[in-house]
Amino acid sequence: MLSFILRRLGQSSVLVLIMSVLVFAGMYVVSDPVAVLAGDDFTEEDRQALARELGVDKPLITQYLVFLSNIAKGDFGVSFVYNRPVLDLILERLPATLEVAVLAISMGLILGIPMGIYSGLNREKKATKSISFLTTVGYSIPNFWQALLLILLCSVWLKILPASGRGDTTDLFGIPVSFLNWDGFSHMLLPAVNLAIYKICMQTRLSRSGTQEVMYQDYMTFARAKGISKMRRIRRHLLRNILLPIVTITGLELGGLIAFSTVTETVFSWPGIGKLLLDSIHHADRPVVVAYLIGITLMFVTINFVVDVLYALLDPRIRYK
């Protein structure tokens, strides 16, 4: 197991390094922070001075080496736009993203798996057909359009949920979170549902196909022949066997939600990190974009690692050497 972890660490550092070179060079080629920041009344001299102060007047290689040596010191740099440490910017927005992502994933699991198992077990029922239809629709609706429909339905017509923003927050260990009071939670619901719809559909389909496969296995028939109750057969024998792909996908999807909920965060103006990424790309704020994507790479590596470990726990046949 130890060698497995070490090998993983080695691979990830190379990955992060490649990532940083790509993003750094990409941002350098595409946009110029001075051009974006300088107002229309900046003289040529003002622009040059600004470039000096931001450190973007030096050659790309020098800038990159400075960046690497700063990271070695634990300094991810200072945002060009906000002139504040990048890590602060990301960390103060992370909780907002995390709580919505976790809520959305939970909705996906709690609603998706039972629906999937139900439709896997009852192939001919009407409910199964409606579930199948709904998941197809849910799969296909573009995210931003679905978001606007949700706002139209819940905020404009029914007026039951707020259309945007984060609402009141409660401090939990000094971190402001929304889910501990009703106002904050009601603001969370629409963005979470918007993210969850796709997840619910996916989990439903995954667990349905898993169920259909496992249901006809010999051990299921045997368990039935032994007279084990239906609920126990589903819990002990079916569920455990369909969970493997679900765990993998859920891990990756959680990562995706944390990293790239950009559209949902923009439409609901939810102040999370996805919106930060988008704004930073718009403003040519390279330090933020680079640090963000490095952080995201690290997160995916970690999630994959955790998923691998969970595999071993769920399926005793899998062992890492």
């Binding site: 595409v30 946009s31 110029d32 001075v34 051009a35 974006v36 920041l37 300088a38 107002g39 229309d40 009344d41 900046f42 003289t43 040529e44 001299e45 003002d46 622009r47 001075a49 600004l50 102060e53 931001l54 200072v78 736009v81 906000y82 002139n83 504040r84 103060e92 927005r93 931003f144 978001a147 606007l148 706002i151 139209l152 905020s155 404009v156 007026k159 707020p162 259309a163 945007s164 923003g165 984060r166 923009t266 439409v267 609901f268 103006s269 102040p271 919106k275 704004d279 790309i281 718009h282 403003h283 040519a284």
Partner: protein, 532 residues
Amino acid sequence: MTVSKYTLVTMVGLMALGTAPIQADSLKMAYSSAPRSMDPYPFGGAPTASLKEHVYESLVNHDDSPLLAESWSWTAPLTLTVKLREGIKFHNGADFTARDVVYSSCRMMHRIDGKRNLLTSSMGPIKDVVAEGDHVVHFHMKAPYPLWTQKMKFLSILSASGATTPEGAIKYDDKGDCGITNYPKRDQFDAAKASIGTGPYKLVSFDKSGSAKLVRNDAYWGEKGAWEDITIRSISNAGARLAGLLAGDFDLIENPTTEDLDALNNNEQFSFTSVPSWRTIFLVLDVNKEGAPGVSADKPGNPLSDIRVRQAMSMAINRKAIVDRLFRGNATIANQLAPKYRKGAPELPELEFDPAKAKELLAEAGYPKGFELSLFAPSDRYANGSRVAQAVTQYLSRIGIKISLKTQPWSVFAKARKNREMGTFMYGWGHPQGPAQMISFALASRDKKLGLGSSNYSNYSNPVFDKAIKAWAVETDEKKSDAFVKDAMTQAMKDLPAIPLYYQHTIWAHRSDLEITGRQDERTHAAMVKKK
């Protein structure tokens, strides 16, 4: 069961109140992009300025009238003497005096972690700021700087009581040290601790995602605010912003899309107000004789350097159709590079639309079959920007110019512009600093001392124009200055190194029981919103 008549009446009354349009005196506004900080100096841009103007005031108002200043005059060619209004108090009760102006100038120049405030450029040629008594300030310049009377609006006035200042007079220096070591930091401004201004509203809280809460400053020296409290939020997606208005989350939103205006018109509860802004949208043409990036013809040289070609391009564009169809009337045809309703701007004759004559001019210039041209436009910067660029592309191709349109995100576009990689591009200028600042930057020959020509991407150079703009750059007399602006603008419109298209309107969608006066500088301020 005895329910008295009065109870019933009260209940009916309450129910009527319940449907009353606006609760108490609260105003909820949604901006289309997020203010970045409550520290008034580091950032330019409309959203930050819109928010901060509720809290801080400057010597001069957005419409160039005196605000915290009572009057000003040039007491020497390089000295502007400003007389301050008396009896004004900051939110913390401190008196507003000349010392605060010097302090604010110092804070503007002060660099945080070695980085300049983005508004500092406006302070460029200022050598010294000196207080004389409590209500007179002298601004001494290194070089002639008549524009300072306009640019003073960027210098938000903070209270010197926000920092420990030295005994006696504060000595200004252009590093912003001024003997002050503990300037309030940005965090303290954002936490509403250091945000002490003289404005009609006081900051209660500011969130870095761009929301803010304000309350009325009941001790305000001018006309008191109409709203007890104000909530401002920022929603960048236009659809979500409109939904927020329809859902009752907001009383007023900025910048609905042109498509949504019909729906607002047909809804009794909501309406919109469209006000011509100073922002002028125009095409910049690189007139360099040697050639321009993205421009090629079957004979040597740059077709854009021929004045007949530029006139032809201007004549080919049907501005009226753009304004009427793309904007449904919510834009104004432009005849010059700063609207005539901008104070100090001249009034020039209309620019012709005549595609037949345009074709003749092209042939006369030696391009009967046209030439090739890449037109660049930012896709996410101006309302309907991409569609206007498409329309222009069509008009120009009708007279035979083979045009390829390249729309790009602003960050990419801005870099290409700075590096002079675009021979023809669409751009907009908001003119907060008077009608001539743009042409002095974008069309004048480079003059370091007077600060001219820094953004001359047209590579335009005309002695008549330069003479007028140089005279303008040092002229402190308003009338003479306006005459120079007229000379310069007239010459520019003869030569057309930049082709004006239209003046953008700023649109606010709001509850129909509100009346919006609107502002021409694209800012959204509670003072322009009143109950009907």
